[in-house]
């Protein structure tokens, strides 16, 4: 198996000069290609901070984070942005689609940032919207989509650059049960079919149940790391997800 994440002795402290908050404390994390993992823990345990560190949105105070063989802690801010663009997909809790763009244009944006050819973009768009089951909503503005549909577009956007790693911060927090299940189905299918590594930061039991590995964080440290081979991601019919 190919290593996707290799993090050693990673620590991050906020407000070091006033009231220090040790958000992440000496964390070691190893993750292989194709994992479907959940980062869980109580509020303030450091889930989002760890996700931000892995995604190169923040830099650790100590330690190294190696993604696809590249130590991202050594990259400059511009190199990090470029690295994220080509290697990591992000799904956020509140969808964060650009309201003035259609669903298609939101997904397209990432590929335009990558300077991809028009024909490639069109092909990829069709394939992504088919995968998320929203071919009929391609030219719809986010405001005209339901929360679940918006989050599926956000997943398509995260996958547009063909990343091997997708980081999802509380992706189901704002969704009803049906939409959450549909979204998880889509991500599980992508995980199985395209071997994309997914890491979720979540409180949601629906996500935890579907994850094959559950990493529990408490006070910025990994409290437990459980592989759940028995819970193979299951998919439901995508047509019902529309």
């Amino acid at each position: 198996m190919k290593t996707v994440i290799d993090a050693h002795t990673v620590s991050k402290t906020f407000n070091p000069n006033t009231i220090p908050v040790h958000a992440i404390n000496n964390v070691h994390l190893h993750m292989e290609q194709g994992e479907f993992s959940a980062l869980v823990g109580p509020s303030g345990s450091g889930k989002t901070t760890l996700l931000n560190l892995i995604g190169g949105l923040d830099k650790p105070d100590t330690g190294n984070i190696i993604i696809h063989g590249i130590d991202i802690t050594k990259l400059s801010p511009n190199e990090l942005i470029d690295f994220r663009l080509h290697n990591i997909g992000f799904v956020f809790q509140s969808f964060n689609l650009i309201p003035v763009l259609t669903a298609k244009e939101n997904v397209e944006l990432i590929m335009q940032l990558q300077n991809r050819k028009r024909a490639d973009i069109e092909k990829r768009i069709l394939s992504l919207f088919k995968q998320i089951g929203l071919e009929d909503k391609i030219d719809t503005r986010p405001s005209q989509l339901s929360g679940g549909q918006q989050q599926r577009v956000a997943v398509a956007r995260a996958l547009a650059s063909k990343p091997q790693l997708v980081l999802a911060d509380e992706p189901t927090a704002n969704l009803d049960s049906k939409s959450a299940a549909n979204l998880l189905d889509i991500m599980a299918k992508l995980n199985q079919e395209e071997n994309i590594t997914f890491i979720f930061s979540t409180h949601d039991v629906r996500v935890i149940e579907r994850a094959r590995r559950v990493i529990t964080l408490v006070d910025g440290q990994i409290h437990s790391d459980t592989a759940r081979v028995e819970t193979e991601p299951q998919t439901t019919d995508l047509a019902t997800a529309k």
């Binding site: 003035v100 990432i110 335009q112 940032l113």
Partner: protein
Amino acid sequence: MWLLKLSWKNMWRNKHRTTITISAIFFAVVLSVVTSSLQDGVFDNLIKNVVSFYSGYLQVHKQGYWDERILDNSFEASVSLEQQILQPKNVTGLAPRLESFALASSEELTKGCVVIGISPQRENTITALQNKVIEGEYLIENDVGVLLAQGLAARLRLQLHDTLILIGQGYHGATAAGKYFIKGIVKFGSPDLNEQSLFLSLAAAQDLYSANGRVTSYVLALKNPADLNSTAESVRTKLGGTYETMTWEEMMPEIIQHIQTDKGSMYIIQGILYLLVCFGIFGTLLMMMVERKYEMGMLVAIGMKKIKLMQLLLVESVLTVFSGCIVGITVSIPIVYYLNKYPIRFTGEMAKVYEEFGFEAIFPSSTDSGIFITQGLIVLGLGLLLSLYSIIKIAALNPVTAMKK
């Protein structure tokens, strides 16, 4: 292209805000264009009035005449010299003058006056002197009569067809004396000219002052007054150091000073206008940055380089400011042209003052394209300068903090 498209869409994401910003820029452009064009128009009109009144745009004298205006500083008029002066294409005509002082006497009264010997026909093409005749007739070439200014005639208690005596000093100290009948009375708005001037035909003046064939100045008419300085330089080069070529600006620096003082106060008003526009644009930028902070953090997080984000916001600002400028200029063009064709007319006391000076009491606008371009560029420049705020904010943007709600 996608950047432009996204900027355009972002620009209209909050229609009310964008409309308010564009309206602010629009009003600023219209107001600054119209005020500038009225200001320039009034000054252009003032210059045209003053210049066509007496001095002309350019004058040629013997070197040193302007500092010491005496007949000994006159020069020999000649066809070849006139041809040289007329060589630059912008010079369309010239009128010779012989000017000096004399005592004008009626039966009982004497008063100092300025005697101006003119070529009646050529003078009329430059200063339209004939139009100022209120009684009697205009002079003809080699006329022996005089045109007397109304104020001077009143002081000397003289009327049309009366006789007056002129006594003075001629060329090289010769005695100048003559008896002339009043052929016409002229009226000037300028008190100086109205109280002091007297016109003779050039031949009669040369005879009076024993200055046969001599003149003190050539007054030049120009096709395009905007090319005044280059034309003056061209005439100077052709005539060499024997003659001095002076522009109206050099002869009447007080007019330039008056214009500059007036422009100074107009700049202050325009400055206040620009300041208001700046507040409007800056307020919009502040709101926009707060409103879209989360989105900007997200864009950097998913891989948009900050430089690209800066370009995006810069294009948005340019599009907004540019739209306001274009609409403003488009609307101000017909307004300015209308005010040029149908100028605002002074009424009451102000109109009387203007008319007394022989000026039309109007407030015309200037249609100089430079005004539209300059005002548009100033507002555009201000908009771009203010958009530096958003660029600075993006440079300091941290996606993690920006995405914290």
